[in-house]
């Protein structure tokens, strides 16, 4: 097996983008499926609310709101875990030998690794989101109430930097878990990858964050600060770019690094 060590951090993004461009259909189907599922759930909630409020003529009180909020959170978690099966599709593209993947394979990976993906998703995405929420949510309220925005931007930047470091530290757990099928081995291999290719890992995710995450946060902040619609349009555009390109690309990048950085594997690649 050839192991190609690259010093240029752009190479992983370049190869992954090429792979995504050639195989966009299964990933696009995944995003559309997630959107469709979200819309269905949204309309179900609206429908239940309508029946509760209009037909039974009852107030949507605190416990009901709490139940709805919990339901939305669980569903949001489910969608995030489902989208993380994109990582299985990315591994298919690189390691199946057939150089293609299909949307239905996402369900196969979900069925096989659902609880492991759930745990990894909580660690990889849950923690940075919680940190960002902790730093920025109170500031958002301050901004709405007319407070200075400089502080908000600083907290926003801190949240983003913590997210970047966290993603860089743990993203390779996904492909390792899919290949090795063992959570403990996946974390061990992830740290071996970091040990053997730290500059490549951190460099690649830095570019990824600069291209996909930073503009989204900048436009989100500008929209919030200036209440200006032109920024809002860019914010939405970057969020869509993140969903349709950034999400599958991050799994392809992680899988690409997993297969290309030389390190001691539990189960060697054939």
């Amino acid at each position: 097996m050839k192991n190609v060590t690259r010093t240029n951090p752009f190479s992983d993004l370049k190869f992954s983008s090429r792979l995504l461009f050639k195989n966009y259909k299964p990933f696009l189907k995944m995003q559309l499926f997630a959107i469709a599922l979200t819309l269905i759930i949204f309309f179900i909630i609206i429908g239940i609310g309508f029946v509760y409020r209009v037909i039974f003529n009852r107030e949507v009180n605190e416990p009901v709101r709490y139940i709805i909020g919990a339901f939305i959170s669980i569903f949001g978690g489910f969608i995030t875990v489902f989208l993380s099966t994109s990582n299985g599709l990315a591994v298919d593209l690189i390691d199946s030998g057939d150089e293609f993947t299909e949307f239905r394979n996402a369900f196969r990976y979900f069925g096989k690794f659902w609880w492991q993906y759930f745990l990894v998703t909580i660690i990889v995405f849950g923690f940075p989101h919680a940190v960002q929420g902790f730093f920025t949510e109170p500031r958002i309220r301050d901004i709405i109430q007319g407070a200075s925005w400089e502080k908000f931007m600083i907290y926003e930047a801190i949240g983003l930097i913590i997210s970047y470091i966290w993603y860089s530290l743990f993203m390779c757990v996904y492909p390792s878990l899919t290949v090795q099928g063992n959570l403990k081995h996946a974390f061990t291999e992830n740290f071996r990858i970091l040990k053997n290719g730290s500059s490549r890992v951190f460099g690649t995710w830095a570019i990824f964050f600069l291209v996909f995450q930073v503009p989204t946060y900048i436009f989100a902040s500008l929209t919030l600060i200036f209440h200006a619609s032109p920024f809002g349009i860019f914010w939405v555009l970057f969020m869509l770019l993140n969903l349709f390109v950034g999400t599958p690309l991050q799994y392809l990048v992680a899988a690409g690094m997993y297969f290309n950085i030389p390190f001691e594997r539990f189960k060697p690649l054939d």
Partner: protein
């Protein structure tokens, strides 16, 4: 299936011999081989010696998933085989498939005798 002529063995992984020609006498195999798209795939594999699913997909304009299913069926009926597996510069695994003969002849007799 009956063998007519054989050429020198050249397959590495499974030491499969590529024959000059093969006479198909089994109607089930003939049915598989006469499928329009599968015939196209086998023809391309004979012409180009060995190809990946992606290459076959580009040449036939058929979805790679469909090609994969056809290849599985052709493998099941011993018409094609996995000739080698390599890795690209970016460590992408690539499976190459090859036809087991350079020519397939179908010879099926239908008569009133039992």
């Amino acid at each position: 299936m009956a063998t007519e002529k054989t050429s020198t063995p050249s397959m590495d992984s499974n030491s499969v011999t590529i024959r000059d020609s093969i006479i198909i006498t089994d109607p089930e195999i003939a049915r598989v081989l006469l499928h329009e798209d599968k015939k196209k795939i086998v023809s391309l594999l004979i012409k180009n010696r060995e190809m990946t699913i992606q290459q076959l997909s580009i040449d036939t304009q058929i979805n790679p998933g469909t090609i994969k299913r056809y290849i599985d069926d052709l493998q099941l009926h011993n018409i094609v085989f996995l000739s080698k597996t390599t890795r690209s510069e970016y460590n992408i695994k690539m499976k190459y498939y090859c036809a087991i003969a350079k020519k397939f002849l179908i010879n099926i007799h239908i008569s009133g005798e039992n």
